[in-house]
């Protein structure tokens, strides 16, 4: 029957999606059973909030990973932009957030340019920019944490325009939906997939490979910037290292979401599952007050499982 559904939907990755969802459900159930307080409204709200930031960043990273590249500068860009926002909040108010995004965008664009024109592997380019930015953010903040004084900025994350959810969540959902649309329905979105799958052919039939690559990194950077801004707004403060955790968490979320780390397979839609999965897991472990080292081990194992269930696998000889 599932097969039939596939036929109709013309969608050969359906089983994977179902698997991810069910893993998610099972894990939730397990934690929920273990800690009654886990399934309380306030806690779900907490999960929403912590997911929202990661979601924004991961969505951007997905495009890069779909191309078969990787962006290790997400965390640094987020910290940098978050700090800028905190810095500018008094003078620019809410407008500091779009400015922050633009800065992130340009950071991403620098990544893209270096990657395309210096022809340096993305893992290294982004690594280097990350290092540089982490230095820069320390430089502008002098290592101090900075309070976001502007109420309007805080409102962006913690207020609730629609009373059902905090704005931070709302924004992240909007971004996510937009990204899904971009991924599925725009030229850019499809081309990132094409590049990850077969760069040569794409180039032959006239896909502007370099442009797409730069755009993807720019997008990733921009969203990382937004994520940083949201994080600052959420915490009501900015610190030099606050984005750090995102770098690997985004990769994890994207991969758990079923996008192949080697690129060319997967999509943005599934990333939200990865995000919810990772945040729920860590939240659950926190509610249970599991010892930190055990948390690390469990997270590692769960990533493995998720990938095992989720990614298309090649023969042992060809696996890289």
């Amino acid at each position: 029957m599932l097969q039939a559904w596939q036929e109709r939907r013309g969608d050969s990755e359906l089983p994977r999606r179902i698997i991810t969802i069910s893993v998610f459900a099972v894990a939730c159930a397990a934690i929920g059973l273990a800690a009654p307080s886990f399934l309380t409204l306030s806690n779900l709200r907490a999960i929403e909030l912590s997911s929202s930031v990661l979601l924004v960043a991961s969505v951007g990273a997905t495009f890069v990973i779909l191309m078969g590249s990787i962006d290790l500068s997400v965390g640094a860009v987020a910290s940098f932009c978050g700090m800028l926002v905190a810095r500018m909040a008094p003078d620019f108010g809410v407008w500091s957030i779009p400015i922050g995004c633009l800065v992130g965008l340009s950071c991403g664009m620098i990544n893209g340019l270096a990657y395309v024109y210096l022809r340096i592997p993305s893992i290294l380019v982004t690594l280097a920019t990350a290092t540089t930015l982490s230095g820069a953010v320390l430089f502008i903040s002098d290592g101090r944490s900075l309070t976001v004084s502007d109420a309007a900025v805080i409102e962006i994350s913690q207020g609730a325009w629609l009373h059902v959810m905090p704005n931070g969540v709302l924004i992240s959902l909007v971004v996510y939906l937009a990204a899904v649309l971009v991924g599925a329905r725009t030229r850019f979105g499809r081309m990132t997939l094409a590049l990850g799958s077969d760069e040569q052919t794409a180039a032959l039939v006239g896909v502007k490979v370099n442009t797409i690559k730069i755009q993807a990194f720019a997008l990733s950077g921009g969203l990382a910037g937004l994520a940083g801004a949201l994080l600052a707004a959420r915490l009501g403060s900015a610190t030099a290292t606050m984005g750090g955790f995102m770098t690997l968490d985004t990769v994890t979320a994207v991969v758990v979401g079923g996008t192949a780390i080697t690129g060319g397979f997967g999509n943005v839609r599934l990333t939200i599952l990865g995000v919810l999965f990772t945040t729920t897991l860590s939240n659950g472990l926190n509610t249970l007050a599991v010892a930190p080292h055990l948390q690390a081990i469990i997270q590692g194992i769960v990533i493995l499982l998720a990938v095992l269930l989720n990614t298309k696998r090649v023969s042992a000889e060809d696996v890289r």
């Binding site: 013309g10 050969s12 794409a202």
Partner: protein, 513 residues
């Protein structure tokens, strides 16, 4: 003939050379409306290159082109497409992870996007669907991922794409280049393809390249014959026989010298070295044959008839038809890890895909030559002796006349022919008793070909048993002591081919189709 009408496409003195050595020289072509033109010629005669010149993939170094009466200088494939020339590629230009309709309009989505840059899927899908129907490919669902379809379906998708694009750019009379469209599709698809081509000639002209002479005769109005990168003749399709066409292609009757036929051994008494019994699995059915010491057995048949699969089974190159047994000198090769065992028992394999399966482009010539025989170049176990490796490499570089700046040059920078010689050298260095070759002279220039044939003869003199799988009938006929013709996974026809009594191509072709 149709001399009165003006040609819609004209190429004068088109020439192309890659890094110095010219591949195509002073080619003149004329294409008239509603015409199907064939370009015939041996491997490496410059057929594909000419198409790629027309398609703007390899812009010509010299000569000019004219399309619909206007000068035509495409620098990129896309320009050619917009001008009304599109190509159906031999190695497919489809992206597996995209949906069919996306591949059809790949890089043209911008023309389907609305103000918000959102692609209008339904329009693309509808358009694709229509063309699929027109081509009688209703079974292809534009929404499915391209990788869900088999090779021949993907081929048809490419053809559909060509028509779709033509219509899309409002070219009322496009020129469609078909580069070996039938290379990998079965009879049903071939007839389907040809019917549709005939149907569509009302609105288009075609240039066809194929490895089956019969198809030129069957389909083409005119046939240009290429030889060594020049066009040497032009024939009207209905007037020419395969024989004479082939004459024109090779320019001479098959030359015994070329294939060193006088060196062919009489192996009637020789012991059996390689023996395959009842090979079966992925559309190979019960194939059995023996190869004797010093014998060359030619394995022919249309592409997709399963001859490659047989080769894979012998050398254990996964995935291969697992049923049946393969014996080398009486020792049965197991199914598990057959590859290693085969090599250990002196089986060598010259695969079809030279660049990805034959050589390691980033490694030096010497490293490639010693790759299969590392123990032989080691004094201490596990440690390569530079001196030995060097001398081994030099020996074979000289013996096979591999043209390179030295044993340390990267294989990447060698010409196709020399790369193929390196692959041979790799096995010579190891000393093989059985050598399986899959289209060893594909994309190899004439000179190198002759040298390779020489090497094969040397091998047989040293008592190697050779299984030669080839699409090039002349090669089979010229080299083989015995020729097996396969069709639909079965051996249809077996014929001894002693030097004094070689079969004709026609004889073989008859059993192929």
């Amino acid at each position: 003939m149709t001399a009165a009408r003006e040609p819609i496409f004209r190429m004068r003195g088109g020439s192309k050379s890659f890094s110095g050595n010219s591949v195509v020289e002073g080619v003149n072509l004329e294409i008239f409306a509603n015409e199907i033109v064939g370009i015939a010629g041996e491997n490496g005669a410059g057929k594909s290159t000419t198409l790629k010149m027309i398609a703007g993939i390899h812009p010509p170094n010299a000569g000019e082109m004219e399309l619909f009466g206007k000068p035509f200088k495409p620098l990129r494939y896309t320009q050619a497409v917009e001008a009304g020339i599109s190509m159906v590629f031999q190695e497919q230009a489809l992206i597996p992870s995209l949906a069919v309709y996306e591949n059809v309009f790949l890089s043209l989505e911008s023309n389907f996007t609305n103000r918000l840059a959102i692609v209008d899927r339904s329009a693309m899908i509808a358009c694709t669907e229509r063309h699929m129907k027109d081509l009688g490919l209703a079974h292809i669902d534009p929404r499915r991922r391209t990788s869900d379809y088999a090779f021949h379906d993907r081929q048809m998708i490419e053809i559909a794409k060509a028509f779709a694009l033509a219509e899309y750019f409002h070219i009322d009379h496009p020129i469609i280049l078909l580069d070996e469209p039938t290379a990998a599709i079965g009879e049903r698809e071939v007839t389907l393809l040809f019917d549709s081509i005939r149907r569509f000639r009302a609105r288009a002209s075609f240039i066809l390249i194929t490895h089956r002479l019969s198809e030129y005769i069957e389909l083409c109005d005119r046939i240009y014959v290429f030889k060594d990168g020049r066009n040497v003749g032009e024939f009207a399709g209905e007037r020419i026989s395969e024989q004479s066409l082939h004459m024109a292609m090779v320019g001479r009757v098959r030359d015994e010298e070329y294939f060193k036929e006088r060196r062919q051994l009489d192996v009637a008494e020789a012991p059996i070295v390689l023996s395959a019994k009842g090979l079966g699995g992925d559309n190979v059915k019960n194939v059995s044959f023996d190869v004797r010491k010093g014998e060359i057995v030619g394995l022919g048949g249309l592409v997709g008839c399963g001859k490659e699969a047989v080769g894979r089974a012998v050398v254990g190159f996964e995935p291969f038809p697992a049923a049946g047994t393969v014996e080398v000198n009486g020792k049965v090769l197991p199914v598990r890890a057959r590859g290693k065992v085969a090599i250990a028992n002196g089986v060598g394999f010259v695969p079809k895909e030279r660049k990805t399966e034959g050589i390691v482009p980033y490694m030096s010539v010497e490293a490639n030559i010693s790759l299969a025989s590392l123990p032989l170049v080691s004094r201490l176990t596990g440690i390569i002796s530079a001196a030995r490796e060097r001398s081994l490499a030099e020996k074979h570089v000289n013996a096979l006349r591999i043209r390179c700046s030295g044993p340390t040059q990267l294989c990447q920078f060698l010409s196709g022919g020399n790369q193929q010689k390196v692959v041979l050298a790799k096995w010579l260095a190891r000393g093989v008793q059985v050598l399986v070759l899959d289209n060893p002279t594909r994309g190899v220039d004439v000179g190198a070909k002759e040298e390779i044939y020489g090497v094969l003869r040397d091998l047989t003199d040293h008592g190697a048993a050779i299984l030669l799988i080839s699409d090039d009938l002349l090669e089979l006929i010229g080299l083989a002591n015995r020729i097996l013709v396969m069709r639909d996974g079965e051996i249809q026809f077996e014929r001894n081919a002693p030097a004094n009594d070689k079969p004709t191509e026609q004889e073989l072709v008859r059993h192929m189709v």
